[in-house]
Amino acid sequence: MRDINIKYLEGEVRIPSACGLLGYINRKGELTSGYHIVDAMSVMRERGNGLGAGFACYGLYPDREDYYAFHLFFEDINAKEETSYLLYRYLDVVQEEKIPTRKVRTIKDPPIIWRYFVKPKEEYLEDEDITEEDFIVRLVMKINSEIKGAYVFSSGKNVGVFKGVGYPEDIGEFYRLEEYYGYTWIAHSRFPTNTPGWWGGAHPFSLLDWTVVHNGEISSYGTNVRYAEMFGYKCTLMTDTEVITYIIDLLLRRHRLPLDIAIKALAPPLYSVIDRLDEEERIKMKAIRAIYQSCLLNGPFAIIVGFKDGIFALNDRIKLRPLVAGEKGDFVYVASEESAIRALSPELDRVWMPRGGEAVVSTLEERGVLV
């Protein structure tokens, strides 16, 4: 994907940025409108600069929950046609449509934004002995790295990402988010250091049903990328969020690590802490650090990760970026600032500051706890 007017694109250069994060889940699976989170994001307007914002919603496509919902940006119609050819060739497409938007004064030159509800064609899965997910991942990688002007920014089941260049409230209005209902909502406001931003570079970053919003700039990026690339991921965007998403996909889906272990791999305890653990735990932690050394996210970050069963939020090991959590009834909230949570729910049962490296995990009750 490329816009010729923009000199510095994700994928060609790394763009450091600062951000505002917000996410929440209703543990009973009760759906809420996107209106609330869009509204709450405006509290953290200072954390962004209008060059990127985005939202992820889980539970928004109940009628198509068995299909992968591909959201795509196309720079032009050629890109769309080339992509469609590929999609129809490898996937059963049950529905395709333009994602409904409304005109917003501040949103300039949006790309063509389209969605497809798809399933891999059985014959390919059988032929190649590949899991459905891996097949989807490969296809996404192929489109994003090979088709000029096309970019898949959402590819999970019953999850949708909506993002673009603008302030969160404008993006929310643009995508008509008040019309979507979900049990988990995640939002992001961006402050990239260069101008202008690019639609694909906005958060959340998503692959399959993983959606990640991220505040920070991880210094281990080079290490993380070269690790992810060994497993076939193509880091086309050169953003931290992208590689974090891939590593999460690798650890949780492909290596099938329990969520708590995967979190330890991303933000492991310090050796000074490990040395004081009992022997079994110590061996385990050292093994995690030794084997997954390249997964350690080093440097400042706070992330909120959505997945089909819940969300988790995580800080770097020494907490260089803000993260706060709150609870009210069945709702669990995480955000960069408490004020954003209060905007959603003024009277909270509990508010707390998670420690560095300690994840806040919340999952749907009916699905059980993953941890």
């Binding site: 600062a18 690339e229 061996i283 650090r289 084997i291 350690l296 020494i318």
Partner: protein
């Protein structure tokens, strides 16, 4: 035969400062200084001076200066003084030119063409003095992934690992090539700092058994000192295939250096040559290497990592890939600036490649083949300071080996005369009169100080990059930029040029 070789150095003595204390006379193993009773003067025989500075350092009145002999040949770009003198030497002896230490020719030093990144504003630098900074490194074969049972217990069996507190180890220097006190100094420093030293192919002297937990024991073609006790003594076993200073050339400890102690340690009679030819005659192929790797693993019941050390040569990445597939737990790559006790000069100066390029290409190749995570990568041969270490790790090394730097810490002045056995600093010698000049108490302190100092610097630089655990630098080539390098070099190194953003 009258020699045409004029002395390399000239000893200048300040007669006013000289108090005739004769310290220089007693300290020079090359017998440069002599006391003339009749004239009550100390005189010098310049031709014997190797420029080791022992006398300069110990002269209490600082009366001695050593200068390079200013005597010039006619200016000639092709026929340098060195080229001419080498011919004189060979014409006079008919022998192969030997020298000590590593390649000193004007090849590019890539470390010095690499620059390190630091954080500014968008992500913070970390202050390593007050915040945690982790350098711990595991050397050993890693499973591709971990598995846990339903109770979160680790099921995967982790192969044996070396646990390093600093990513710097002392590379192989045998007792025989260096003195027992030098070995002990490094061994004790390893214990103190939490890293490892390497026996080299000379066996493990009984005096060094107390430090065996921190030893890597080497097994080379000559199999000197190798038995089951030895293999089980160390924490890892290293098969030495090659050495950066003399790829394709073996080791040869002349009989005169095989005294009682060396004899016991190598388990050979006193006075016999200890010859380790380049090839292990049981390894003529990669599958033979695999055979030896597993023979060693069987011999120690799979309790120790078995690594393979190779010289950086043209096809190093393919070889490394083969070694990884042959089951080695780590690969040590030794660059052509690596030191040696003795090497044929022509080989030292002309064979092999710089380790920076070897490292980058091996790391890249192993990643392309999806093997990089499984095997550890150690590089050595030219590491001079902590910045070199940082650059090596960013290029993809798990840890580095140092040897020349360690010897310099012990007092080596790089006079390149190790092969004569007359090391005035007590390092590369077996003469008990010289060996005792290196007090292992001091040596251990100096060597551990060096590692501690480097660790501090590494932490500072990591902090600057906003990284608080070394693993996040490993292979993180984005942290490097090249200066003065051509496209090809940048491509091999896998880095961008300085000035290019991220």
């Amino acid at each position: 035969m009258k020699t045409l070789y004029e002395s390399d150095f000239i000893v200048i003595r300040d007669e006013i400062r000289c108090i005739r204390c004769k310290v220089c006379v007693r300290q020079c193993a090359n017998e440069v200084h002599q006391y003339d009773e009749e004239d009550d003067r100390v005189i010098a025989e310049n031709s014997r001076c190797v420029g080791c500075h022992r006398c300069v350092t110990l002269c209490p009145t600082k009366a001695i200066t050593i200068i390079r002999n200013p005597l010039d040949f006619r200016e000639n770009y092709q026929w340098t003084a060195r080229a001419i003198k080498d011919i004189y030497k060979q014409a006079e002896t008919g022998g192969i030119l030997l020298t000590g230490m590593g390649n000193d020719k004007e090849y590019p030093i890539y470390w010095d063409r690499l620059l390190i990144n630091a954080s500014q504003v968008t992500n913070p630098s970390i202050d390593p003095l007050r915040e945690p900074m982790e350098l711990k490194t595991f050397i050993g074969r890693k499973p591709e992934k971990l598995e846990f049972d339903n109770y979160g217990r680790l099921i995967t069996e982790i192969p044996p690992q070396l646990e390093l507190e600093v990513p710097i180890m002392f590379s192989a220097m045998s007792f025989g090539s260096i003195s027992i006190n030098a070995c002990e100094s490094l061994a004790r420093a390893s214990v103190e700092v939490g890293t490892f030293w390497n026996t080299g192919e000379g066996g493990l002297h009984k005096k060094l058994y107390p430090y065996k937990e921190r030893a890597i024991v080497q097994c080379a073609s000559g199999r000197f000192g190798v038995d089951v006790e030895y293999l089980n003594a160390g924490s890892a076993i290293e098969i030495k295939i090659g050495q950066g200073a003399k790829p394709g050339i073996g080791g040869h400890l002349p009989g005169e250096k095989v005294g009682e102690e060396v004899s016991q340690t190598r388990m050979i009679p006193i006075g016999t040559d200890a010859i380790s030819p380049a090839p292990h005659h049981d390894i003529y192929s990669i599958e033979d290497l695999r055979q030896l790797i597993y023979a060693l693993k069987e011999a120690v019941n799979y309790k120790k990592p078995v690594g393979v050390k190779i010289a950086a040569v043209h096809n190093v990445s393919a070889i490394a890939s083969g070694i990884a597939r042959a089951g080695a737990d780590y690969i040590a790559i030794d660059g052509f600036r690596g030191g040696t006790g003795a090497a044929p000069t022509r080989i030292r100066d002309n064979v092999g490649i710089p380790v920076e390029l070897a490292l980058a290409s091996v790391d890249t190749r192993l990643r392309e083949e999806g093997l990089r995570n499984q095997i550890s990568l150690i590089v050595g041969g030219s590491i001079r300071n902590s910045a070199d270490v940082i650059k090596a790790i960013a290029l993809g090394a798990d840890a580095v080996y140092i040897a020349t730097s360690a010897l310099v810490a012990l007092g080596c002045h790089l006079c390149q005369n190790c092969h004569t056995g007359k090391c005035n600093w007590g390092i590369a010698t077996q003469d008990p009169n010289l060996v005792k000049r290196l007090n292992p108490d001091i040596g251990a302190k100096r060597a551990s100080n060096l590692l501690k100092a480097w660790s501090h610097e590494i932490k500072e630089m990591l902090g600057g990059m906003g990284i608080n655990a070394l693993e996040s630098l490993r292979g993180n080539r984005l942290m490097l930029r090249g200066v003065g390098l051509n496209e090809k070099e940048l491509e091999i190194l896998g880095i961008k040029h300085a000035g290019e953003g991220i």
